[in-house]
Structure formats: structure tokens, C-alpha cells
């Protein structure tokens, strides 16, 4: 049951992220990136099965856990993914801010410095 709720939540996250990322304004795209990262983290968490909230700690004197515990591997994966998505978000935030400063716009359609419109084609004659 919990899993179904999570699945619906992940779907909503993905829908909102895709909607925001389809915008031409980079600030919205950035918010979309944040939501996308969190949607994927929740997806990893759910893919590892939502088990009892028992921490995966092996009691003294045993070599294996005595009871069914939470799955620690998805948490390690999510931790990695959080670090990566956070550092990427930090980089993108600075990049978008610099773009706004240098290019004077946060509209992706108007960013034509690298690919100017109406560039002449190559010469057709010698």
C-alpha cells in the first residue's frame, strides 16, 4: 500500500519536472532539474522495496541480521545520487546566473551567441 502511494508521488514528481523542463525560461528548467533529481531518488528508494523501518544493524554476537530490516543498498545509491544531483544543481545555478549576466536573458530561445541566426552558408564557388 505504501508502495502505491510512493509510485503515485513519483509520477507526480516526474510530471511536474517534465512540465517545468519544457519551459524556455531557464529558472523554471532549473526547478525542473531539482524535481527530476528528487523523483529519481524516490524511484530508487521504492525500487529497493519499502520494508520495515528496522535499521540494518547486526546485533552483537551474530553474523547476519536476526529480523527483516530495511534494505541499505538503495540508501547508499540514493546518497550517491543526492550528492551528484546537488553538485550538478549548484553548477547549473551558477551557469544560469552567469548566462543571465553575460547574455542578458534567461530565455533559451534568445540565446543564439554560439549558433547565430542567418549565418551565410559556405561559398558555392571557388
Amino acid at each position: 500500500m505504501t508502495e502505491l502511494l510512493f509510485v503515485i508521488l513519483i509520477g507526480l514528481f516526474f510530471a511536474a519536472a517534465v512540465y517545468l523542463m519544457l519551459s524556455k525560461f531557464l529558472v523554471r528548467v532549473l526547478l525542473g532539474v531539482v524535481l527530476l533529481g528528487n523523483a529519481v531518488n524516490l524511484l530508487l528508494f521504492t525500487a529497493g522495496r519499502i520494508l520495515r523501518e528496522v535499521p540494518p544493524i547486526i546485533p552483537a554476537g551474530h553474523d547476519v541480521p536476526v529480523a527483516l530490516t530495511a534494505n541499505p543498498l538503495p540508501q547508499a545509491l540514493i546518497l550517491t545520487a543526492i550528492v551528484i544531483s546537488f553538485s550538478f544543481f549548484a553548477f547549473l545555478l551558477v551557469l544560469v546566473y552567469r548566462a543571465y549576466q553575460d547574455l542578458g536573458t534567461d530565455d533559451a530561445n534568445e540565446m543564439r551567441v554560439a549558433e547565430p541566426e542567418n549565418t551565410p552558408g559556405p561559398p558555392t564557388g571557388y
Binding site: M21, L26, V29, V33, L36, G37, V40, L43, L44, T46, A47, G48, R49, G61, H62, D63, V64, L73, P74, L77, T80, A81, I84, S87, F88, F91, L92, L95, V96, R98, A99, D102, L103, A108, M111, R112, V113, A114, E115, T119, P120, G121, P122, P123, Y126
Partner: protein, 515 residues
């Protein structure tokens, strides 16, 4: 149920690791180490290349030793922390990975040498060499890892290093290109992570050999087709396959020319390698189902790439489209999946790494000599330096896949493999793309090299530094060598392809007990 503490052999590798196996982890570990040392010495501009170039030369040596080891003994595996697979993260190098890593090391060394003159003191202070070493850590790690989540992490390592290289100098056009590159590549790696999350949910393991075994056992009732399609999209985006390739022509012409050369040689090839590894090892049957889709995407990629190259007047943008066109040939090889087709794709990828690096570096020299990258204004390069003109012509022949250069043989292999299964349209697309590429590069030679420098055309610096000439000459010579004597590389590429098609040896190297 509690195992006695003495019985660790079920979970740990207890015997010491053979010294030769350390070569599997040495390339990425060495790059991380050297990269962090260079990062600490960031302000010592003179010292940077003096340390970085020997470090890159050592990387090539390690990659060559690993390649020799794999060639001799078959796939090699080493697990982290001595935990037995699938619990420990495994690094597994087979022939394909070792070949790609060796070619990548060579490209990085050439880039490091070319950067002596191309990257000024400012670029060095911004950290060109540390970023280059960290990029190589990501690239080598991606080629050598045997764990799919680890592969994702290496993708991110190389991606963040490539961001740093891309905005080196912070010019307006670089920031514009970087925005498109960064957002679209982030989406591609996120798709990869999504697919990996589902993969973990299905199999409960991330070791690729383990997944290959489990997938073979329970293929009927698992939703593997969806997963395979998601991976094709994610890696196709990384490899710049049509229609998800528009980040490449938007950004590859903006950074310093040596950075463009490194990107063109390494980044898209990591995507192709990952697609080969995942589709051949994990999802062979699903790849067959998707082969028509991959082949159609490949045909569109190569033809539209070549048409894009024809339409460009800026030499650097033209080269970006040439990279895309080459990716199409590799996709065609992956879609065929036969030893000939896949071997051709591997050979073509190695050829493309060498030739695209040489071409971008040559374009840098051409732009410096002519004073412009615009074909409307450039001219007279042949008059200025006949040697440079000859070397460029060799590379132009090679990228157009004309004999006797390295691009010819892999295309023959892929075309023959396509005709063998009756996919005449795929063979025709490859030949048409080659024809269009020949026209595009013939025109570059005619306009920028052969045409006399006219009045009113800008004139640049007349000198070609040795640090630029050396890598260009070396890569042109390699292209000629593999064109004249293709047999050794051809045999290795085919044997690497057979290793991908039948991953039994790969799996046995991870799980020695499995037959």
C-alpha cells in the same frame, strides 16, 4: 544460521590479488591521484604541464599494459574491498574496454601536448590539466567498470569534468554552448539512472555479469524490453544519435580547440561503449528486437550528420557534424550485432577517436594560420605550409573513409555485415554518408587550403608550434598505419566483438565457478 566468524571465504576474496590484476583499477585510480595533485598545484602554471604530460604518458603505459594483459589472459576482474561479487563493486576489463581505454589514453596524451600552446596561462590557472586528468578518470573508469551503478557514477565524473573544460575562459559563446550541453546531458544521465533504478528493482543486483546471468534465466516474465528501450534512449543521447543529438552541434565548437578535440574523441564514444556493453551483455535478445530502431536511428544520424557538415561554413561546427555522422556508422554496427558488424563498429570507434582528435587539432592550427575558421574567408593554407596541408589531407581522406586510411576497413566490415542480412538500405546509407562527407571535406580542402590567400582575407600567425604539429602528425600516421596494415587491429576488434556477443568469458572472470 549465524556463520562462524572463521568462515569468511563465502564473502571475501582471501587470496592476495595477483599483481597483474591491479592494472584494471590503475588507470582511473592514477588519474584521480594525479588530478588531485594537479588541483592542489593549480596556481603553479609552469609546473602544471611538466607534471600532467608525464602523468598522461604513464596512463597510456598502464592502459597498454592492461591491454596486453587482457589480450593474453582474457577478461580480468578485480573487486573492491575484497568482497566477492556481486557484493563488492567489480572492475572487469575485457578486450573492448581495454581497447577503448588505450585509445582514450592516447587521445588525452595528445591533447595534453597540444594544450602546451593552445591553453595559455589563464586557462592553466582555471585548471585545464586537473580537469583533463579528472575527465580521463571518468572515461577510463567507464570503460573498465563491471558494475552498472558504478558506470553511472563514472559518467557523472566525466560529465562534471567536461563542464569545467567547456566553460574554461567564460566567454559568452562558451556559456551559451555550456547551457545547452549541461542541461541535455544531465537529462541523459538521469534517464540512465532511472533505468538503473528499475534494473535494481527487478534483479536486486547491479553487477553486470550477475544481471546477465539472471536475465538469461528469467527472460520471459521480466519487463526487460522497456528497460532496454530506456537504455537505448539514454545512451543514444550520450552518443549523440539522431534525434537526440542537438546538444552536440550547439556546444562542441565553443570551447578551446583542444577541449573540442577531447570531447569529440572521448565523450560520444563512452556513450557508444556503454550501449554496446549494456545491449550486448545484458539484453542480447531485446537488442535484436530493437535492432531495426537502432539501425534506422543510425542511418538518420549518419546522413543528417553529413548533410549538416555540408551546410556549415565554420570549420569547427562542420567537424561537430562529422562526429555525429561517424556515430551513425557505429550505431549501424551495434544494430547488426554480428561479429562483422560489431567488430566494424569497435574498429570504427577507435578510428573515429584518433581521426576526430587529429581533425580538431588540425582545425585549430588552420584557424590560427588563416586567422579565421570561416570557409568564406580562409585560404592559402597550402602555400603557408605544405607539410601541414598534406597531414590535413590525410586526415580528410581518413574521415571520409577513403583507402588507404583507417576509416575504410571498418566501413567495409559494417557494409558487408549489413548486406549479409539483406539490409541493403543500411549499407546504402553508410555509402551515401561517406560520399557526402567526402564532398564536405573536399570542399574544406579546396577552399581553405588550395585556394590562394586573396586580398582582403585575414592573415593569422604564420608559425606552427611543434607541440601542435607533433600530435597531428602522429595521428595522421596512425590513420595511415591502420589503413595500410589493418589485419592486427581487425583481428583484435573482431575478437572483442565476439567477447561482447558471447559474454561467457566475461561472466566467468567475475564468477569463476559458473560455466
Amino acid at each position: 544460521m549465524a556463520a562462524s566468524p572463521a568462515d569468511l571465504s563465502a564473502a571475501l576474496v582471501l587470496s592476495p590479488v595477483p599483481p597483474a590484476d591491479w592494472f584494471v583499477v590503475l588507470p582511473p585510480a592514477w588519474c584521480l591521484l594525479a588530478g588531485s595533485v594537479l588541483l592542489m598545484l593549480r596556481k603553479k602554471r609552469r609546473l602544471q604541464p611538466l607534471l600532467a604530460i608525464p602523468a598522461l604518458a604513464l596512463l597510456v603505459l598502464f592502459d597498454a599494459l592492461l591491454f596486453a594483459h587482457v589480450l593474453e589472459n582474457g577478461p580480468v576482474t578485480m573487486v573492491m574491498g575484497r568482497w566477492l561479487p556481486p557484493f563488492g563493486i567489480a572492475f572487469t576489463a575485457d578486450l573492448t574496454g581495454a581497447l577503448f581505454a588505450l585509445a582514450g589514453g592516447l587521445v588525452a596524451l595528445a591533447g595534453g601536448i597540444y594544450a602546451l600552446t593552445d591553453i595559455d596561462g589563464e586557462g592553466r590557472r582555471y585548471g585545464f590539466y586537473p580537469f583533463l586528468l579528472l575527465l580521463m578518470a571518468g572515461v577510463s573508469g567507464a570503460f573498465l567498470t563491471g558494475d552498472i551503478f558504478n558506470l553511472y557514477v563514472w559518467f557523472e565524473v566525466l560529465l562534471i569534468a567536461s563542464f569545467g573544460l567547456l566553460v574554461l575562459g567564460s566567454e559568452r559563446r562558451q556559456i551559451d554552448g555550456a547551457i545547452k550541453y549541461a542541461f541535455l546531458n544531465l537529462v541523459a544521465t538521469t534517464l540512465f539512472l532511472i533505468a538503473t533504478g528499475y534494473l535494481y528493482g527487478i534483479f536486486g543486483t547491479l553487477n553486470m555479469a550477475d544481471i546477465a546471468l539472471k536475465a538469461a534465466a528469467a527472460r520471459e516474465w521480466l519487463p526487460l524490453m522497456t528497460l532496454a528501450a530506456l537504455y537505448v534512449l539514454a545512451f543514444g543521447m550520450k552518443a549523440a544519435a539522431f534525434p537526440v543529438n542537438f546538444w552536440l552541434p550547439a556546444s562542441y565548437h565553443t570551447p578551446r580547440i583542444v577541449v573540442s578535440a577531447l570531447f569529440a574523441a572521448l565523450l560520444t564514444k563512452v556513450g557508444i561503449y556503454a550501449m554496446m556493453r549494456v545491449m550486448m551483455t545484458l539484453f542480447p535478445l531485446e537488442r535484436e528486437e530493437l535492432s531495426l530502431l537502432i539501425a534506422a536511428a543510425g542511418a538518420a544520424t549518419m546522413i543528417l550528420g553529413a548533410l549538416g557538415a555540408l551546410a556549415q561554413s565554420d570549420l569547427r561546427r562542420l567537424l561537430g557534424y562529422a562526429v555525429i555522422s561517424g556515430i551513425g556508422v557505429m550505431l549501424a554496427g551495434v544494430s547488426l550485432g554480428s561479429p562483422g558488424g560489431l567488430g566494424g563498429a569497435i574498429f570504427y570507434a577507435l578510428h573515429s577517436m584518433i581521426v576526430m582528435t587529429g581533425l580538431y587539432l588540425a582545425a585549430g592550427v588552420a584557424g590560427r594560420l588563416a586567422g579565421t575558421f570561416d570557409l568564406n574567408g580562409a585560404g592559402g593554407l597550402h602555400q603557408r605550409s605544405a607539410l601541414f596541408s598534406g597531414l590535413s589531407l590525410m586526415l580528410f581522406f581518413a574521415v571520409s573513409s577513403l583507402p588507404p586510411f583507417s576509416g575504410f576497413w571498418p566501413k567495409v566490415m559494417v557494409v558487408k555485415a549489413a548486406l549479409d542480412i539483406g539490409a541493403w538500405w543500411l549499407a546504402a546509407a553508410i555509402l551515401l554518408a561517406g560520399f557526402l562527407t567526402t564532398i564536405a571535406f573536399g570542399r574544406v580542402y579546396l577552399l581553405a587550403y588550395w585556394r590562394p590567400a586573396g586580398a582582403g582575407r585575414p592573415a593569422g600567425d604564420g608559425r606552427i608550434p611543434a607541440s601542435a604539429m607533433l600530435p597531428i602528425a602522429a595521428f595522421a600516421a596512425l590513420a595511415l598505419l591502420f589503413g595500410l596494415l589493418p589485419e592486427p587491429l581487425l583481428a583484435v576488434a573482431q575478437s572483442a566483438a565476439r567477447g561482447l556477443i558471447d559474454p561467457a568469458a566475461y561472466i566467468r572472470s567475475v564468477f569463476p565457478g559458473v560455466t
